[in-house]
Assembly symmetry: C2
Homo-oligomer: 368 residues x 2
Amino acid sequence: MTKRVFNFSAGPAVLPVSVLEEAQRDLVAMPGHGMSVLEMSHRSKAFIAIMEQTEADLRTVLAIPDDYRVLFLHGGSRLQFSMVPMNLLGGKEKSADYIVSGSWGNNALKEARREGNINVAWDGKATEYDRLPETRDIKLDPNASYVHFTSNETIQGVQFAEEPAVGKVPLVCDASSDILSRPLPIEQYGLIYACAQKNAGPAGVTIVIIRDDLLQRSPESLPGMLSYRTHAEKESAFNTPPCFALYMVGLIAKWLREEVGGLEAMNTLNQQKAKLLYDVLDQSEGFFRGHAQAACRSLMNVTFRLPSEELEKQFLAEAAEGDLVSLKGHRSVGGIRASIYNAMPIEGVEALKKHMLAFQAKHAGQKV
Amino acid sequence: MTKRVFNFSAGPAVLPVSVLEEAQRDLVAMPGHGMSVLEMSHRSKAFIAIMEQTEADLRTVLAIPDDYRVLFLHGGSRLQFSMVPMNLLGGKEKSADYIVSGSWGNNALKEARREGNINVAWDGKATEYDRLPETRDIKLDPNASYVHFTSNETIQGVQFAEEPAVGKVPLVCDASSDILSRPLPIEQYGLIYACAQKNAGPAGVTIVIIRDDLLQRSPESLPGMLSYRTHAEKESAFNTPPCFALYMVGLIAKWLREEVGGLEAMNTLNQQKAKLLYDVLDQSEGFFRGHAQAACRSLMNVTFRLPSEELEKQFLAEAAEGDLVSLKGHRSVGGIRASIYNAMPIEGVEALKKHMLAFQAKHAGQKV
């Protein structure tokens, strides 16, 4: 096999090698079909079977109840930032609550405000999004149309360990960066959306899981492409879906089911991987300073600083020499970010740990 | 190589084998990068280089003037049906003109009407969209914000041989099914959009070519994902683009430039391929009845009927036995549709011609 590096990119991100190899094997002609999946009509029996199997496998691994629909949409989570309020707000006199725990929650808030009345139920900006709210800190409106939160913030590296308590108001979650990383109590949600390019596949397709009754809220006036109800009625084929990305999501779902053994097993491995790195932070005597408070740490994105920007540059350069790449923190916050999604093998995390320990041993004396 | 059939699907459609083979070769690890293109951060140097090369090659093959921007967007042409009026209409007191020459133009019209005042400048419904308008038939408003037309209608198989004359009003074209099939006088257009899955790549990415000055029309109130100006300002990376589909568009553009030798050569081959089939129709003494009037025939989608639905079924079944697949007409019109886009080799068209002649020889006596 061609040489591969350990890719810590926050997304698009590492994919399982066995999945890539299956896609590669069938890319010119899928056995029994005589054509690539890239060339299949989305209305063909062959492709409809791929869509159905993808949905079935997602339903199995995520234990999605029967009264929820699974949609495969274009546009990424950014389009969901608008589609959620367009579909669920319910009119000018209504409002929705947003819990803002990082940059992505803030982006969702900005787009939602274009569509109607939005209340900020909590915002962690004051402490640079290094923590999550206590239940008592969240100011909820019991008459809100929905409550929106971001389960994992990739830029700051904070992750909700469990769902915020929102009573009977439908809970809406941007789960783009931690869907499929652990079991999820879907029945606590009204709607979950996730672009694929972190844990669920490549960029280009977004998974939406929506409770049946919420489909009735989509206004008739919405463009077809922006209406959850239209997409549900047309079974995600109102227009040509992003077929290849969807096929890859299917391969990921099959990998989780057959190779990983489900989301409990995936979560256990993700816990182990994250612990390897957070232990280095905690035992570094301040050489590596984690951004997130310990109780709010993400299992997906480990964010930390070194004593100086100079050392951070050197850390990244030497990591790259050891084939550990895409570790640079998001341009808005700097520092280091190790994204260790489902498909990052534990060997990659161990190699990074080794690099961190060696780098600290060499440079700890330079601490400023 | 694994056996391949001749795939006459209207889209997603056949892709060049050499392009599929290059994508396959690099799918697990792109040489020099140690990761799949599916795993590359869209902000990485490697992927930005892919985007830039893709745009450069499209600019070369299409001879796109410098005062036009090239955008790569999510959502397919269906989303463009809404984005065009959202961005270009220019307010409630303005209107746009639509030339409707088939099912897709009609779909564009329906979505546009949700956004504001739309006039139908011509509609070919009365003759089941079997022809295109004469210039004198098109009722244009000189104060319209833009004129919209569909250069090729895949379902009915009618194609404009040249641009409708619209004076100084910006011309907007849905070129989804014939972009890159022939040279295009871009300077006659205000905006051209095309989903990739016919001539330009796989499903999941849409190419928008827009004249600079029109970017100023996008209202500030639009969601970022629906604003041409935002996408232009962010160079198609306002959010994560559909990376793999975009990469494939790049391979197609390179194929057109290096292997085909440009759009003049492509057009010559496409003319040859279409003539093979239309000659069979014209010489069949009515056994095969083309849907489109001869002067309006599409070089991309050859649509025809047989003397009975029974014979059509038999024609399709026997074609499939000979590895000629996806020839069934669109469910809304029935009959046979042979889509012979850029990547359909002439050998495939010759095989279909042979099947048509043999079928006619066997069944002409049954003509009803």
